[in-house]
């Protein structure tokens, strides 16, 4: 049975590389990274390599574009700005009954719980439901937003939830926004796991030692209505999730969990694996994650397909990662351009995989996006480009 097409009609990225998708894409194509060494004792006692949104630009944009900006936390401001930009050129009515907002985040306003920030905002704003309510009220949307909080797959999973609700015809349009901040909470946590790299991260490389954390927001506007006046459209063809059932803080040693998610996503999209032109992977640059991904790729028999990780450009943006990386993958489809997997020099995973070493042109139609996270969760999604 033919499934309802789900069109990605607009998007936005906010990261260290800029405040629009275009600004981010321009820097990625130029192979510029936003990961730098920060020595800011207010966020961490020692220097850390991270990707941070520029505070002064955020303050200016919030003051110019938001009503009563001071009422909103930093993360809330970012969500509002991202949705404002994503919806600025499309005719989606955010106040309509058939429009829903889905928020993806791992820790939301967790910075407000840190002792140094207590009392700055009402206590309940630490709750993700209350954060999402601020977004809902700002845009006068009539529906209680859904919040997906599923570790590092939150962004991809939130789009998969939207896919399910749109196919069921519960809504015509869904705005999916995902975001997380750099906070002392997450920095110290990943540091305690000894998962952080003290240099720009190197996904899939022999000398990779860990992640760089990043902060960012990604927003997509999804619709069951085909966009008018466009030569090409991008659709979500299928998606799936899975669990490793192996360990709460370490990835599977076999890759079978991610393999299950990839297989289910391909099946959901009615897409033979031979049609996948490109893969945007999770690629955190921790030894175990990248090793696991190579095994899953081998199990799925996708070893020849070119792949990259965006982590070398903007770090690991947690709840935003799946959204931002999907939006960048969609830019690749639109421009028929595969960007270099920054930080990669020499293959350092047990199974041979095809890591993109040089930014180059290639005709592209279908892309696979994957994500994996704590709790043993995995997600995969298929995007495609077609002519109208």
């Amino acid at each position: 049975m033919k499934k309802t097409p789900i069109y990605i009609i607009a998007d936005n990225i906010i990261s260290s590389l800029g405040f629009t998708t275009k600004a981010n894409w321009k820097k990625i194509v130029a192979e510029q990274t936003g990961v730098t060494c920060h020595h800011d004792p207010s966020i961490y006692p020692t220097p850390v390599w991270i990707s941070k949104i520029q505070e002064d630009i955020l303050a200016t944009k919030a003051a110019q574009q938001l009503q009563s900006a001071a009422q909103y936390s930093k993360l809330e401001q970012l969500f509002l700005l991202s949705i404002l930009d994503a919806t600025s050129n499309v005719s989606v009515d955010l106040t309509a009954e058939d429009t829903l907002i889905i928020v993806a985040s791992t820790k939301g306003n967790i910075d407000l719980l840190e002792h140094k920030n207590r009392g700055k905002f009402p206590k309940e704003r630490v709750q993700l439901g209350s954060l999402a309510k601020q977004v809902q009220l700002y845009f006068k949307n009539p529906n209680t937003p859904l919040v997906v909080c599923n570790a590092c797959i939150s962004g991809v999973l939130a789009m998969d939830v939207a896919k399910r609700l749109l196919r069921k015809k519960k809504y015509k349009n869904i705005v999916v926004t995902g975001g997380d901040l750099i906070s002392e909470f997450t920095l110290s946590g990943f540091q305690s796991f000894k998962a952080m790299s003290n240099a720009p991260c190197k996904p899939y490389d022999k000398n990779r030692i860990g992640i760089n954390l990043g902060e960012g927001i990604g927003t997509v506007v999804l619709s069951t209505n085909k966009p008018a006046h466009q030569n090409e459209v991008i659709t979500i063809d299928g998606g799936a999730s899975s669990n490793d059932a192996n360990h709460i803080s370490g990835p599977s040693r076999t890759g079978d969990g991610l393999f299950i998610a990839i297989n289910k996503a391909l099946k959901d999209a009615h897409c033979p694996k031979e049609e996948i032109d490109y893969m945007s992977m999770h690629g955190t640059a921790t030894p175990y994650n990248d090793e696991m991904e190579s095994k899953a790729i081998a199990l799925a028999n996708l070893q020849e397909v070119p792949l990259n990780s965006l982590k070398g450009y903007i770090g690991h943006t947690l709840g935003a990662a799946g959204l931002i990386e999907s939006i960048v993958a969609i830019q690749s489809l639109k421009d028929n351009l595969l960007y270099r997997s920054l930080g990669f020099e020499e293959l350092g995973v047990p199974k041979k995989i095809n890591v993109i070493e040089k930014t180059s042109s290639k005709p592209l139609q279908k892309c696979l996006k994957t994500a994996s996270g704590f709790g043993g969760c995995n997600a995969a999604m298929i995007f495609s480009k077609s002519s109208t």
Binding site: P45, T106, K107, G108, I110, L113, E114, H115, K116, V126, Q127, L128, G129, S130, K133, T144, L146, V147, V148, C149, N150, A151, L157, D160, V161, R164, R167, K168, E184, F185, S188, G189, Q191, S192, F193, A240, S241, S242, N243, D244, A245, N246, H247, I248, S249, D256, G257, I260, K264, G373, F374, G375, G376, C377
Partner: protein, 187 residues
């Protein structure tokens, strides 16, 4: 599709464990840690990893036990079993404990064993490990327990053959209150 009232259900709140409307364990005088440990011993859960879990995971784990302990998932492949769960406070209790460990730079002791429990889907992971569940799962956070939404979402997973059986429900923990209610959504 069945009426929601006929799904097997386990509810834990206010010192009481209730299965399909019948109270099977009650100890309303005890604070949560002692109450849940008491239930763990009484019903001989015998799972050493339980003692490493945070309070939220313990609550979810015990609730799931009563729905899954008698081989209810036998006959399903691991990837056919789904999990749809939600709560309102995410991992607030452990988040607070963790922030206390980093408030003082001269007494800084962030612990990975605590940090790992600052994601609510970890309780889904714990249940998946115990029962070898590899299917689709999602964790939602909402201010209110929206039972209809969660059941409808799970039923749609069954109808679209995303899963053949689904563990669905709400598990919330704060210092003031706790509430777990899980259903086994089957055809």
């Amino acid at each position: 599709m069945k009426q929601t009232t006929t799904y097997p259900c386990c509810e834990i709140k206010a010192g009481t464990i209730n299965i399909n409307g019948r109270v099977i364990y009650e100890n309303t005088a005890l604070p949560f840690p002692k109450f849940i440990k008491g239930a763990y011993k009484e019903f001989e859960l015998n799972y050493p990893k339980f003692h490493k879990m945070d309070r939220l995971c313990k609550l979810a784990f015990v609730a799931a036990h009563f729905l899954l302990k008698d081989g209810q998932l036998d006959g399903y492949a691991p990837e056919e079993i789904g999990v749809v769960m939600a709560n309102s406070n995410s991992t607030l209790h452990t988040d607070s404990k963790y922030t206390d460990s980093i408030k003082d730079r001269d007494n800084y002791f962030p612990s990975p064993a605590v940090f790992v429990y600052t994601l609510p889907n970890i309780m889904v992971g714990e249940i998946c490990i115990k029962y070898n569940i590899k299917g689709e799962s999602v964790f939602f956070v909402s201010n209110q327990f929206d039972k209809e939404m969660l059941l409808e979402y799970s039923q749609d997973m069954l109808q679209t053959e995303t899963a053949k059986i689904c563990l669905t429900g709400w598990v919330d923990y704060t210092d003031e209150d706790y509430h777990a209610i899980l259903y086994l959504v089957n055809e």
